[in-house]
């Protein structure tokens, strides 16, 4: 095993301190009893209590959650199909346009996406509300799902699909019973990615939401625009905690699966 050099240890320490200190400070001060966020006045959980009595926040959270579940599910179906078509579909008319449209939302500034979708919805006379946010979120989440699934499909041994065909499967059967179970982890992470992106989105949701469908980020943004607020700190701490637990759990689960697999492979011999 190689020892890590001083230079690398220092850059890692500073780098991760930079990434994590702001979030840690935020969480710590969410337990500050003082209304002035930056002045510590003792431990308290009162901001959490207030948060759970704030109807407006709870409503927005419920809207956001529903939008995220529906749009990431739609995006997973469409994104997986798109990735499969691009990796396995061979040539077809307009393939370049297709892959361009698929990957462009990854980098396209949100303001452009939001504005263009809003103008579309208006010109076809679609009232802005949850449906329009879902349509918008599905469109950009699809790109992320497609990227994650593509990278898995590229690494996928094609002869597995051929073996399924050879043993009597139709293409659809082969996809269902061989390809899908094997790429399932990528499909699931694509869904999770779409879900978090949807939870997180402010700009596109602002353009495409109507008065009855305020999402949590819109609510947070209008609250923090003017300054820091202890309630938002509490809300942020909760969101960070959820993501942290989620990410750490999945990485532990996958790490255990890998170690178990390696152990079994070693035992099985060459």
């Amino acid at each position: 095993m190689r020892r890590i050099s001083w230079f690398n240890a220092t850059s890692l320490t500073l780098g991760f301190a930079f990434l994590y200190l702001p979030m840690i400070v935020l969480i710590v001060y969410s337990f500050n009893s003082n209304k002035l966020v930056t002045v510590w006045a003792g431990f308290s959980t009162k901001w959490y209590g207030e948060l759970f009595h704030n109807e407006a926040f709870l409503d927005a959270a419920w809207v956001t959650l529903r939008v995220a579940v529906v749009s990431s599910t739609l995006a997973t179906v469409l994104g997986t199909a798109a990735a499969y078509v691009l990796v396995r579909g061979g040539r077809f008319f307009g393939r370049t346009l297709f892959s361009g449209m698929l990957y462009a939302p990854l980098v396209m500034p949100d303001v452009i996406l939001g504005l263009s979708l809003l103008l579309l919805f208006i010109s076809v006379g679609l009232d802005r509300g949850m449906l329009t946010i879902i349509l918008a979120h599905t469109t950009f989440s699809m790109a992320y799902v497609a990227v994650v699934v593509t990278s898995r499909l590229v690494a996928f041994d094609r002869s597995l699909e051929e073996a399924a065909l050879d043993l009597g499967c139709t293409r659809w059967d082969a996809f269902k019973s061989v390809t899908l179970p094997i790429i399932a982890p990528a499909v699931i992470s694509g869904w999770l990615l779409g879900f978090t992106l949807s939870l997180d989105d402010l700009v596109i949701a602002s353009f495409t939401s109507g008065p009855s469908s305020t999402t949590l980020p819109i609510k947070i943004f209008s609250a923090v625009r003017l300054g820091v607020s202890p309630e938002i700190n509490a809300l942020s701490a909760i969101l960070i905690a959820i993501v942290t637990v989620g990410v750490i759990t999945t990485s532990l689960v996958s790490k255990r699966a890998i170690t178990k697999r390696q152990r079994e492979e070693n035992r099985a011999g060459p």
């Binding site: 050879d166 043993l167 492979e265």
Partner: protein, 382 residues
């Protein structure tokens, strides 16, 4: 292995010699092009039922394309492929009575050994009991009974190879395709598995077509070998004939070790002639069934083990040459002597090491006599 088709082929199993026999597979003028590249070039070939047929050649010779056309993953650009007399060009892979054992084995990682073997049977909508019975039978045939519940990553490479075989045999295909089936195994295991494959082929009576670049493997398992090069079949014959009577320099050189001596041919009788090759060397006396014109350039191919090395000039052989040992390759069971003749021609001669190494007769720079019979080599015109 005493009654394997190959060993009995000279006497009974040789349908290719019977003009009445109907081939199982017929390639008729098959060409396959990928863009500008011609993978298979106007190929015609018959494979008979119960054969263990080997497609042998270097990588890129078209053998894999040929096999993938049989499986249905590629379609010929021109020509016809027939199975039991019926064209199969339009039949998709899932409807062909042909199964394939993949080079990577392509075992489904998310399914157990049992489910992998049952996979094809389930597609046929067979009853639960029928499937179970067939899977058990396959497990027994490949000696995998204890591993039925394991996943592919929980078994060894040799066991995985047997699962792949069992899976592709489970549907009792008319034809089994094996793509480099033993390539991933180490040498010792490969040899054992070759015999196991032959055994299973015989027990099930399935026609096997194997793709390999390993000539020893092809020689061991096959009833007939097709030697391929650049999309063409160079020679189709039994292993013994491909080795002993190659029809071209390419085949002679590809299979086994060989000395290739170029010279001019002079007929001296109806089935014999002399080959003049180097200044100062006596001409080689050779037998041939071909009609070769006087003065034509030919290649004389002779296997190293057909040449004897001796210290004294032997009197009983038709061909004798004198030279000096330049190099000795010691392989354990045999030693190969690289001998330079007076005219500069290098000739390899292989001798079995019947005695221990310290009592070996020849060493570097020894002057020796090489000798061989007139019938030991072949005269090749292409």
């Amino acid at each position: 292995m005493a009654d394997h088709p190959r060993t009995s082929s000279q006497t009974e199993f040789a349908p290719w010699t019977d003009p009445q026999a109907k081939p199982l597979i017929e390639f008729r003028g098959v060409t396959k092009r990928f863009g500008d590249f011609t993978a298979i070039d106007d190929l015609t070939l018959d494979i008979f039922e119960r054969e263990f047929f080997a497609l042998l050649g270097p990588s890129g010779c078209g053998k894999t394309t040929l096999m993938r056309m049989l499986a249905g993953f590629e379609n010929p650009t021109e020509g016809e492929i027939r199975l039991s007399g019926q064209s199969i060009v339009e039949v998709p892979p899932n409807l062909r009575p042909v199964n394939m054992m993949f080079q990577s084995y392509a075992l489904f990682p998310h399914l157990s050994v049992w489910d992998n073997i049952a996979f094809g049977l389930k597609r046929d909508r067979k009853s639960r009991d029928e499937i179970a019975a067939r899977v058990e039978e396959m497990l027994r045939l490949t000696r995998l009974d204890q591993f039925a519940r394991r996943k592919p990553h929980q078994i060894s490479g040799g066991q995985r190879q047997r699962v792949a075989l069992a899976r592709s045999l489970a549907k009792a295909p008319k034809l089994l395709l094996l793509d480099e089936p033993l390539g991933a195994l180490d040498r010792k295991l490969r040899e054992d598995t070759q015999f196991e494959l032959m055994d299973i082929q015989e027990k099930t009576g399935t026609t096997f077509v194997i793709v390999t670049h390993d000539q020893e493997e092809a020689m061991t398992v096959a009833s007939r070998i097709a030697v391929m090069d650049h999309g063409k079949v160079k020679q189709v014959d039994t292993p013994a004939r491909v080795y002993e009577v190659p029809n071209s320099v390419y085949v002679a050189d590809f299979i086994g070790d060989v000395n290739l001596i170029e010279g001019r041919f002079t007929p001296t009788g109806p089935d014999r002639g002399e080959i003049t090759y180097g200044a100062g060397e006596p001409p080689i006396l050779a037998e041939t069934t071909e009609q070769i014109a006087e003065g034509q350039t030919v290649t004389y191919a002779i296997r190293p083990e057909k040449i004897r090395v001796s210290a004294e000039r032997p009197e009983d052989r038709s061909n004798v040459a004198f030279g000096k040992i330049i190099d000795i390759g010691y392989l354990g069971n045999v030693s190969t002597y690289h001998v330079e003749l007076a005219g500069g021609q290098m000739v390899k001669a292989a001798m079995t090491n019947a005695t221990r190494v310290e009592r070996r007769d020849f060493t570097w720079d020894d002057e020796v006599w090489l000798s061989w019979r007139a019938s030991a080599g072949v005269v090749l015109t292409q």
